[in-house]
Amino acid sequence: MAAADSSSVALRRRDLCSRGIRLAGKMRSDVIDLLDTYVERQGLDASASVAVVEGVPMAAVEHWDEQTGTQRLLENLAAYRAFRALLAQMLEEQREQLGEAGAALGRALAAVLLQVTAWLATARCHLWRIEAVSGLSRRQGRSKGTENYGLVKGVLGPAPQLQDARLCRLHMDAFFPPGSHFLCIEFVL
């Protein structure tokens, strides 16, 4: 029973850590659908892909070897913030130009915008977690964590201050027992 519980917690922890990737994947899927709708409505080239649309965050895999997890996370945060601004602008323009006729497109844009916001919120929690683990390690005089359940120890570095870490604590404490050093490196795109 204990083994089963441990397995379940590990599975959920993995799920939590992969959440950012999955959210990004869903967001990308929705953006593709949105783009198809937009291209169709605007009469644009149907061969356009998400890859060529400026502003859509992409995984900068070419720099991963050179960056720490925190750096990658901070980079992604910046990219998604920019993307959110873009979507907000598009939504505003769409409302002005298309009016009621573009309601469906507007809902799709709003949904993507909401997901970007959600991703940003989740990313902040991971940053909070990174900061928390970093602070814990510093207090314990440890430079690195030792546990790994499919996760890798986060690269500890400076993390942004979170104004409201309550929600992050509520959720993550369910998967990361107090005092543990687990980090979700998978979250980082």
Binding site: R19, G25, A165
Partner: protein, 919 residues
């Protein structure tokens, strides 16, 4: 300007105030507006139940001078009830407060009133008071995301709102992300659930409920959850079922309605044979990964299946979708997997061989025909006979012998393995033992004990036993290694089944062993009809018929006979169910009995109709026991009578056919009145040779002859004798000289006197003899006759008998008996005693007559002794007690006169008209 005066009020209030405030009578009107002379603080408070509360009534300064109103005159009232003044407090001349320690004693309205002039109560102001409870913390908050379409995922949260607050309480479902707040979800028409139209996955959402009313606010514990973990997805759609290459495989295909980018799914697939209600399920581990198709294996050939599928998040977090719509598919045919079960039913004229139609699972397709081969085992040289039939039975007319029957089923794909049945000439092998049945789970289980030999298989036959139809045999095969099975037919409750078990050996069959059984028993549908076969005085033989098998509804375990009289208790007798007759005993004679009968199964009994019968008054032989002795006694009496008559035939003959004197033999020439003494003497001598009757007439009863009388016996009658003598003295007269005279008139009662009178009046003849001793010559003998012609002595006696009336017959008979004694001469000793008595005095004669009677009844004798002073009474008793043996005391009393006292006259005592007048 003050317009208000006490007892006269004008109301001009704003509408809003009118709704919430009470009616006031004490107002100031200023500038067209009406102002109250005071008000209450707080205005319309909402109070928590059980809390304390203080209100202030503040009077306007402007009213003080005009109305002389001060705070000490204020009276607080709840509705119309005055609040005790202990709760008041005068704060100053214009303010009064009232305090309630517990708001549960409060009601609305709470009014501030004043006693104007110390007498008249006027209302100043009033407020409404609302009492309730603060909201409780909402509990048990839970949420679920119902997928409505590919892109729409509304989330519904529910919670327990807590106790009723009696106040208007608002609930809000609040949710947010870190640093991102969303509009509250406000429930519509309910207070325990709310639906958020759309949620985003992969980010934690904090959800909580806020409840608020006038008394406070409460929040539930927050629920932090990623909505993706509480999704109930839509079930897969467009499910299709396709036959595979193999006859045991069907392939399912479907579409998932949730993007794999959102959720990876796992599946459950269930299926069942069409017509069957039990679902089977594909092992979950086989469908635990995302997919859109699956091949279900291990199915039966040529079988139609129904499929359905559902899905949920791959990791098992969340909810299963509903089951998809059902789709059917049919597996392809295969050759029959086994041959049909075969059995025979032996008939006197032929041997129908029967086999079961293959189950669809065994037929694996459509059976086109059965190939039956019959081979005689006795004559191996003869070729086997082959039949191709499409039915499941074949009637064969086979000579006596052993045969081997083989059946092979064919479908479009191929042939089944052969089924072989050996039909021996006779079932000589060992049978099974101890066949028994047991209803179990709505089916009938049959068990048996296997014989010692190896059994190839068993055949169980059964049929429904009924009065209305023949026993149609059904059967089933069972393998030889079992000793019990359920009957596979449609076994009905309350019906009797005859079940037979046959063991089949490699070289023959065993004889069948049968048992009767019921799947379920019930009370009999009717009771036995009882009736009497024979009814006696104290017993009755009851008879009845057994219930038919259709009426029994179970095994008849016993009969019970209930019988009772009309007003008696019912008696029950239990009777063995095998009997059809029973004898009720110890019954009361000549009594109406009601009897009924109940038949019992294991489930209860039912009574038959009532039957009544009446026991006989006399038992068997009782009437015969009474009648036969009576008849015998009667016959004996008759016989004795006949014998008596025979013995007395001469006397009877004499009475019935009296001897008519032959006139030719009369000797009238010898008759001479001058010599009557000689003539009479001669005649008397001739008739009474002893001459004893010349002195006294004696009535002697033969029945008492045996009684001897001693002198001592006669003594008690001496007194009576003297009385008699006295009485006789008084009655002496002319009749005293005749034996037919009636001196008894003076001693007998009226009846006796009447009899005597009759006697005197009807006796027209008498024989008058002279009292004298025979040695003396009588003076004269006189005879009287109807005829003017003198008769002979003998003739006169005959006429006495013939001419007597009925009333005198008895008495005359005694006289004749006296005379008869002389003729029959059968009691000579009595005559001798009579002579002795005759020689005694007359008192002795009376005593003699009474002793004759006392010889029969000493009691009568005693009675006579007690009443010996009443002669008449004594004589009456005597006459009554000796009825039939009448004693005529007059005959005794008439004669005691001595010869000297006898009047010398021949005049009769009475003379009938036309009678003879003696000259």
């Amino acid at each position: 300007m003050l317009l208000q005066s006490l007892g006269s009020t004008t109301l001009v209030l704003p509408l809003k105030s009118l709704l919430i405030k009470m009616q006031f009578f004490f107002f100031l009107v200023s500038g067209g507006l009406v102002q109250s002379c005071g008000h209450i603080i707080p205005e319309s408070p909402v109070l928590a139940l059980g809390s304390n509360f203080t209100a202030l009534c503040i009077l306007n300064e402007s009213c003080l001078d005009f109305g002389n109103i001060y705070a000490n005159q204020i009276i607080w009232k709840i509705k119309n009830k005055v609040v005790p003044k202990e709760q008041y407090r005068e704060i100053n001349r214009t303010v009064s407060s009232v305090t309630f320690n517990d708001t549960s004693s409060l009601a609305t309205p709470l009014t501030c009133n004043i006693l104007a002039d110390g007498q008249i109560e006027q209302n100043i102001y009033g407020i409404t008071v609302t009492i309730g409870l603060p909201p409780e913390k909402p509990k048990n908050l839970s949420c679920i995301v119902h997928q409505k379409s590919r892109l729409r995922y509304p989330m519904t949260c529910t919670w327990n709102p807590g106790r009723h607050t009696f106040l208007d309480t608002h609930f809000r479902l609040k949710y947010r992300w870190p640093q991102e707040n969303f509009p509250d979800c406000i429930p519509k028409d309910v207070n325990n659930s709310c639906t958020i139209d759309d949620v985003q996955f992969f980010v934690n959402l904090e959800v909580w409920v806020e409840a608020a009313n006038a008394l406070g606010k409460a929040e539930s514990d927050p629920l932090v959850i990623d909505p993706i973990e509480i999704v109930k997805p839509l079930s897969p759609r467009n499910l299709s079922v396709n036959s595979g290459i193999l006859p045991t495989v069907l392939k399912l295909s479907w579409e998932n309605q949730i993007s794999i980018a959102v959720m990876k799914l796992k599946f459950n697939i269930r299926y069942r044979i069409i017509g069957d209600t039990n679902w089977m399920q594909v092992p979950p581990e086989d469908t635990a990964s995302p997919r859109t198709s699956f091949s279900v294996q291990g199915l039966r050939p040529y079988t139609e299946y129904v499929f359905s599928i559902r899905c949920m998040k791959e990791d098992g977090v969340g909810y299963w979708s509903d089951w998809s719509e059902e789709k059917t598919g049919v597996t392809t045919e295969d050759k029959p997997s086994k041959g049909p079960a075969i059995w025979r039913i032996i008939d006197a004229s032929c041997s129908p061989a029967s086999w079961t139609a293959l189950e669809p699972s065994e037929a694996s397709g459509v059976i086109l025909q059965y190939e039956v081969t019959v081979r005689a085992k006795s004559s191996l040289s003869s070729p086997p006979e082959k039949y191709n039939v499409s039915t499941t039975n074949l009637t064969l007319k086979l000579p006596n012998g052993t045969y081997e029957v083989t059946v092979i089923a064919h479908n479009r794909v191929g042939a089944s393995p052969p089924s072989v049945l050996l039909i021996p000439a006779s079932n000589t092998k060992a049978p099974v033992k101890n066949v028994r049945t047991l209803p179990k789970d709505g089916k009938l289980w049959v068990g048996w004990t296997a014989p010692n030999s190896y059994v190839l298989k068993y055949v169980i036959e059964w049929c429904l036993v009924s009065n209305s139809s023949d026993c149609t045999i059904e059967w089933q095969n069972e393998p030889g290694n079992i000793q019990g099975t359920y009957l596979k037919g449609d076994i009905k409750p309350f019906k009797c089944y005859l079940i037979t078990v046959y063991p089949l050996y490699a070289d023959g069959q065993g004889s069948g062993q049968s048992v009767k059984a019921y799947l379920q028993q019930d009370r009999p549908s009717k009771g036995p009809t009882v009736q009497t076969k024979k009814v006696g005085k104290a017993e009755a033989v009851l008879t009845w018929n057994h219930l038919t098998v259709d009426e029994q509804n179970g095994f008849i375990r016993s009969y019970t006979i209930f019988y009772k009289t009309i007003d008696g208790n019912e008696t029950a007798v239990t009777v063995d169910p095998s009997k059809t007759e029973y004898t009720l005993s110890s019954l009361t004679s000549d009594t109406l009995y009601t009897v009924r009968m109940m038949a019992y199964t294991d489930e209860g009994g039912r009574s038959g109709p009532d039957f009544t019968f009446t026991t006989q008054k006399f038992g068997k032989g009782e009437i015969e026991a009474i009648v036969v002795p009576v008849c015998l006694a009667f016959l004996l009496i008759v016989l004795l009578g006949v014998l008596f008559c025979f013995n007395k035939r001469d006397l009877i003959k004499k009475h019935i056919w009296p001897i008519v004197p032959d006139p030719s033999k009369s000797n009238i020439a010898q008759w001479s009145p001058q010599v009557p003494a000689k003539h009479n003497f001669s005649s008397k001598d001739q008739m009474y040779p002893e001459g004893s009757f010349t002195d006294v007439s004696v009535v002697e009863i033969e029945a008492d002859d045996k009684k001897s009388f001693s002198e001592q016996d006669l003594k008690p009658f001496d007194l009576l004798k003297k009385e008699k003598s006295t009485s006789e003295g008084h009655s002496s007269g002319i009749g005293g000289s005749s034996c037919m005279s009636s001196p008894r008139q003076s001693v007998s009662d009226s009846d006796e006197g009447e009899t005597t009178q009759n006697t005197s009046s009807t006796v027209q003849y008498s024989t008058v003899v002279l009292n004298g001793y025979r040695d003396q010559t009588p003076v004269q003998v006189f005879s009287r006759s109807e005829s003017t012609q003198p008769l002979l002595d003998s003739e006169e006696r005959s006429e006495d008998h013939a001419g007597g009336s009925d009333s005198t017959t008895q008495r005359q008979q005694y006289f004749k008996q006296n005379g008869g004694q002389d003729e029959t001469n059968t009691d000579r000793p009595c005559f001798e005693r009579t002579k002795q008595i005759t020689s005694a005095n007359e008192g002795d004669l009376v005593g003699f007559a009474q002793l004759q009677i006392s010889g029969q009844s000493s009691q009568l004798l005693g009675l006579g002794l007690e009443k010996n002073t009443q002669e008449a009474a004594l004589l009456g008793v005597l006459q009554t007690s000796t009825e039939g043996q009448t004693v005529r005391p007059e005959t005794v009393e008439g004669n005691p006169l001595s010869v000297d006292e006898m009047p010398k006259s021949y005049l009769p005592q009475t003379v009938r008209q036309g009678g003879y007048m003696p000259q």
